[in-house]
Symmetry: C2
Subunit: 232 residues, 2 copies
DNA sequence: TTTTTCGTTTGACATATATCAATGACGAGC
DNA sequence: GCTCGTCATTGATATATGTCAAACGAAAAA
């Protein structure tokens, strides 16, 4: 890999506090690769030979069963994935594919485990990262079990409005059928849900969202940090 | 706490490999408490002052939203809980309550974090534990998003049959309305789902389960280790 | 033993969500 | 500018699941 990529990795929480020589050791065997859209980076059920880091673009994690599949999450710059599988030397529970042209760094799993075993700061960072991911998935389960798809959509919109600066107007970062899958519904149902949010001041045309009555929408969505706050 | 409890803790994967003095430090400030059934051990949204370990009995983790609640999981001897919240010093995402008379060990969160910061072996064990929990929740999401409630029930039965020794007959370990909540359905719906499994050789009377046509049931359930195998 | 309580089951019904088919809208490539 | 393909939308319908009320049954309390 090129030296120009290392500062970006180094600045990630996962690698920030580790010893220099440990970092060297990790980076030495790393690959940087650019992929076109819709490339399968790894397949559910396979072993995990690398820890992945998204440098640029977007990568989706999908899970399949019985001829159908669902989007678990969409990752962007700075995200790592299949950390848990690498640590436990277990098969991937999800497939990963690029959505856009994307650049990813691949750290050989062996290296990660070796450095993890000897560098305490790195081990601590892995813990914090995993704890973060764990809590993210727990929130996801809570949404699925406690909310209807309409409520999940309403909260999704509020969450992204905040994430993108809080403006009245903003743009969705994924296409609608993928959004439907993320929220655990069909594209048709999403279409109807969007219509159903109109009385609450939501207008969506294409990927453009406008929220004219945020209070009304919030009274429907009833957001709570214990489900909807990505950090914490 | 009494010395008689320490060997059990020490034998758990989380504490097995850590240094003796670190273990001493953890155990020194620990509390052991016995609670009657249905005692709220901690409340969703509160800060986490302790890391909990179930020594005996059963504890359920529940999450609530908008006046309804759902059972996230039921824990038994040897399980730890709210590890992620303790590590991140973040509010609990779930409440915990005893189901039966239960004995739990409470390790002050401060101690856990301090030992975690200095003992590399403990940090590594925490990583393994968190990675394990993370993968468990991912499997849960996959089940919720990819399967119907009937399929979830079928797989639940097969999973517990195996876990309890593989016998044709076995006994459910939770009451039905809690099972319904675990599976993400209503008690009424569970009742009907149980009836719907009759053609597949499932007879449930009270908490007793009999599976007479395992192959038929499996052809409906289509179990996969990537969702249904708790280890790995 | 009787009574009470609580969990389960059942039926009738309402709602949520998925499916299928058709149409419409938009962008990529020619 | 056209054509094709893909995604989004709409309507009709089917299925899955939830809700409410009542009846039932087993375990705990009197």
């Amino acid at each position: 890999m090129r030296d120009s990529d290392t500062p970006m990795i180094r600045s990630l929480p996962l690698f920030h506090d580790m010893a220099d020589d440990s970092f060297e050791e990790l980076v030495r065997g790393a690959y940087v690769q650019s992929f076109p859209p819709m490339v399968e980076l790894l397949v559910e059920g396979d072993g995990s030979d690398f820890l992945y880091i998204v440098v640029d673009g977007t990568v989706e994690l999908v899970a399949g069963w019985n001829d159908s599949e669902t989007t678990m999450t969409v990752l962007r710059e700075g995200s790592t994935f299949i950390l848990a599988a690498v640590i436990r030397e277990a098969p991937n529970l999800m497939s990963a594919r690029t959505l856009e042209k994307s650049k990813v760094i691949m750290l050989p799993a062996e290296d990660v485990r070796r450095v993890f075993a000897k560098d305490h700061a790195f081990a601590r960072a892995v813990v914090r990262e995993l704890a973060f991911c764990y809590r993210g998935v727990i929130k996801c389960v809570k949404g699925l079990k406690l909310r209807t798809s309409l409520e999940r959509l309403a909260n999704y919109l509020l969450k992204w409005q905040k994430k993108l600066g809080g403006d009245t107007r903003f743009t969705l970062t994924v296409e609608k059928r993928r959004l439907a899958s993320i929220l655990g519904m069909t594209p048709e149902n999403l279409s109807r849900a969007i219509k159903a949010l109109r009385p609450y001041g939501v207008v969506i045309t294409g990927l453009n969202v406008e929220i004219t009555k945020p209070d009304d929408l919030k009274s429907l969505a009833k957001p709570t940090p214990l489900i909807d706050d990505p950090r914490s």
